[in-house]
């Protein structure tokens, strides 16, 4: 991190290799679109590069970098809205499994899609990455108390959404509106 801070592109390339997969997953969880996630991941990593000299405590790199990624996701979502992209899950099951699992996955697909970007972000950072609440707070630029309340509301909203959703799952692919 320190070498990259000093402008060492090779060092940053190593950092990129370590971060890119995780960044891509986090961005995908927030944006629910693989192309947007790729763009946000790229934008987030470039922001990390640009702003790295301003990072005062390299030990806080992880939370700090995730903050930039989350902001990049928000920006990407805003840009996508401007381009009339309708965000919707575009994934297919990777591994064949039982009907219950498929139904559960479909329910989560739809429930997660109904969450706000901020709610998805707090879920993926706290629950998936298992980041400490303090780090999530730093990454999301909000107080610790807000992280806890936002997480509670996100999980509650997800649960409520799943419970209210009794219809069969239906996937739609992201599409560009030809307005």
């Amino acid at each position: 991190v320190v070498r990259a801070q000093e402008g060492d592109e090779t060092a940053f390339a190593i950092l990129t290799e370590q971060l890119v997969g995780r960044f891509q997953r986090v961005a995908f969880a927030i944006l629910r679109d693989p192309d947007l996630a790729a763009d946000a991941t790229q934008a987030g990593l470039v922001r990390v590069w640009r702003k790295l000299p301003g990072l005062r405590d390299p030990a806080r790199f992880e939370a700090w970098a995730h903050k930039l990624l989350v902001h990049a996701c928000y920006a990407e979502a805003k840009r996508a809205r401007r381009l009339d992209v309708i965000l919707a899950p575009a994934t297919e099951p990777a591994v064949p499994d039982g009907l219950d699992a498929i139904v559960r996955r479909d329910q989560l697909d739809r429930g997660f899609a109904r969450l706000t970007l901020e709610q998805r972000a707090v879920i993926v950072l706290r629950i998936y990455l298992d980041m400490p609440v303090e780090d999530v707070a730093e990454a999301l630029d909000v107080p610790v108390g807000t992280v806890k309340s936002r997480l509670h509301r996100a999980v509650s909203a997800l649960r409520a959404s799943l419970e209210a959703d009794a219809r069969p799952a239906m996937r739609t692919r992201a599409r560009l509106e030809a307005s």
Binding site: G7, E9, F12, A13, T16, E17, V20, G21, Q24, R25, F28, A29, P34, A37, A38, T41, Q42, L45, V46, W49, R50, K51, L52, P53, G54, R79, R82, L83, P89, T91, E92, P93, A94, V95, R104, R105, Q107, L108, D109, F112, I123, V124, I127, Y128, V155, L158, R159, L162, E163, L176, A178
Partner: protein
């Protein structure tokens, strides 16, 4: 149903499963590496300069200032600028002009112009990033009087796609150099419909043009915030794919090498197979020698001292300016002398303080040359007798303008007094001083733009300068007589036209598009409903070769472009 107890592991498992469908991130890594190579890091937390640094900075500036004082003030006094217009506009340009003192002719000194936002490097900053090639929003075909045409509709936010798309032919297709306030990119298309990215030379972009069958790019080291005394790299490519560096040193004027030149590409004008392009050279303000960001200013305190402010609001300390014989003495808060400013008086300090921070990237035009390509080499040609100095700048790029004439080319260079000096060339290679326009009543004065039109040069004037209500267009009614018309009152509603095969495509005000076949006296409206052009929006555009056209508009804060390619022209 998922209950509360299984929620967290279920979410984790579900996320893991969905991630399995994601593509290999290697392509993202590659894009990041490429972008990083083009993207400088932000180093806004500049250290507070130590007093010694401040002194060194002043010392560095002192040499320049001392040189400038004699030249600039001498020039200003000689030209009467200081005595006739002692206002903010006459703030000494503080420009490095040793070239002027080295020349046998007295320099013509102009008031410092505002940095032009249209200059090629005006938007270069830490936010510069690669612009992705646009993806088609819609596409389709049109039946036109010229046969079938294919079209594509592109759009994007203003920082993602430029207002003007100017495809340049290269082997296998066309390239577009896209430049916006936030980034740049080179886009390639084999058919003008589908676009993808092509590589740009590494480095900080400082200029791009297509001239003489080559693409030319100027770059600066990424570590440099702008032109700062570093030599630019000049790159050449035939296809926008493979770039090679070529020597750029010959392009610069032969004046003393200690001038920190910057160079700007102007608008390319072609006549037959010959293409010429104005090159403008500027020297930077002496204040930029502080090198501390975007601006350097002084703010007066109640006790007569001044706070010196550097870039990013950095406080460089408190100074006093004490008049001494032949200049000013600069002392710090403890009374220690930092430097002297020979030749300056407190009037300069007052003007400096009242003008606010001086943009360290502000530059003053000093030299103008003509660029042509000879045997694959970008070559600069001198304009005899043009001398140093500049004016408010004319031409779309803010620099001098060139237009084609019946005899060849004419180079127009506006002078500070509102007249326009000209140079003529038959072949683009040899240039001779021509007439001066604006000396006689009834001639255009204060030219702000030169248009090279098929029917001859058009000079756009704004007299008095800055008064947009008094914009006029001047054409030559014969070889020597200029006639003015106010835009919109000459009976023409024509926005622009393009030659497409055997016809001309005309766009009139609004969104009416016509195809006019040469020789027929019949214009046929082109069916454009499929394009969904909204009536009432101003359109602009241009021809792409003789078989395609790009039509553009600005709507809803976005740039919209329609590229129409006529496929059946051979029929």
């Amino acid at each position: 149903m998922i209950d509360e107890h299984t929620m967290t592991p279920a979410i984790r498992r579900w996320l893991d499963e969905s991630f399995a469908t994601l593509p290999d991130p290697a392509s993202i890594s590659a894009r990041v590496r490429a972008a990083v190579h083009e993207t400088p890091q932000q180093r806004g937390w500049l250290p507070h300069p130590e007093p010694g640094v401040f002194r060194a900075v002043f010392d560095a500036t002192k040499i320049v200032l001392s040189t400038v004082i004699v030249v600039v003030f001498g020039g200003l006094l000689m030209t009467g600028v200081l005595t006739t217009r002692p206002n903010k506009d006459s703030l000494p340009a503080v420009v490095t002009t040793p070239a002027a003192s080295a020349r046998p002719t007295a320099p013509t000194v102009s008031p410092p112009p505002s940095p032009s936002p249209t200059r090629s490097d005006a938007a270069v900053d830490a936010e510069m990033s690669l612009l992705a090639a646009p993806r088609p929003i819609r596409s389709g075909t049109l039946d036109t009087p010229l046969g079938r045409a294919r079209w594509v509709y592109l759009r994007g936010e203003r920082d993602l796609i430029p207002a003007h798309l100017e495809p340049v032919p290269v082997p296998g297709g066309h390239v577009v150099y896209a430049r916006t306030a936030s980034g740049h990119g080179l886009w390639f298309s084999p058919d003008l419909l589908e676009w993808r990215m092509r590589p740009l030379p590494p480095g900080r972009p400082a200029g791009f043009t297509a001239l003489g069958g080559y693409l030319w790019a100027l770059t600066l080291p990424l570590t440099e915030p702008s032109w700062a005394g570093v030599a630019p790299s000049l790159w050449r490519s035939t296809d926008g794919s493979d770039w090679e560096t070529v020597d750029a040193s010959e392009l610069f004027p032969s004046a003393p090498a200690d001038i920190e030149w910057s160079m700007y590409f102007g608008e390319v004008v072609s006549r037959g197979a010959m293409e010429v392009m104005p090159l403008a050279f500027e020297g930077r303000w002496a204040a930029s020698h502080l090198g501390l960001g975007d601006a350097w200013g002084i703010e007066p305190n109640a006790d007569g001292s001044y706070e010196v402010k550097g870039g990013y609001g950095a406080d460089l300390g408190t100074v006093r300016f004490e008049p001494i014989r032949g200049g000013l003495r600069v002392v710090d808060a403890t009374g220690e002398e930092l430097t002297t400013l020979d030749g300056w008086d407190m009037g300069f300090i007052d003007r400096w303080a009242s003008s606010g921070p001086t943009n360290v990237q502000g530059r003053v035009p000093i030299e103008h040359r003509i660029a042509v390509v000879r045997d694959g080499v970008l070559t600069a040609i001198d304009l005899p007798g043009i001398g140093p100095g500049g004016g408010p700048g004319i031409g779309p790029g803010g620099g001098p303008g060139i237009a084609t004439t019946d005899q060849g080319f004419t180079f127009y260079h506006v002078r500070e007094d509102g007249t326009t000096a000209t140079w003529d060339s038959r072949d683009g290679m040899s240039w001779n001083a021509g007439e001066t326009i604006g000396d006689d009543p009834g001639e255009p004065r204060f030219v702000v733009e030169v248009e090279a039109t098929p029917s001859g040069p058009v000079l756009v004037t704004m007299d008095p300068p800055g008064d947009t209500r008094n914009r006029q267009r001047w054409r030559l009614s014969d070889d020597r007589t200029w006639q003015a018309s106010t835009p919109g009152t000459d009976g023409s509603k024509l926005a622009w036209q393009a030659v497409i095969g055997p016809a001309r495509l005309l766009i009139r005000e609004g969104t009416e598009i016509e195809l006019l076949r040469d020789g027929d006296d019949l214009s046929e409206p082109m069916e454009t409903e499929a394009l969904r052009l909204t009536p009432g929006n101003k359109l602009w555009g241009g021809a792409i070769g003789d078989h395609a056209v790009v039509i553009s508009t600005l709507r809803g804060g976005r740039h919209h472009h329609w590229i129409i390619r006529f496929d059946d022209l051979a029929d």
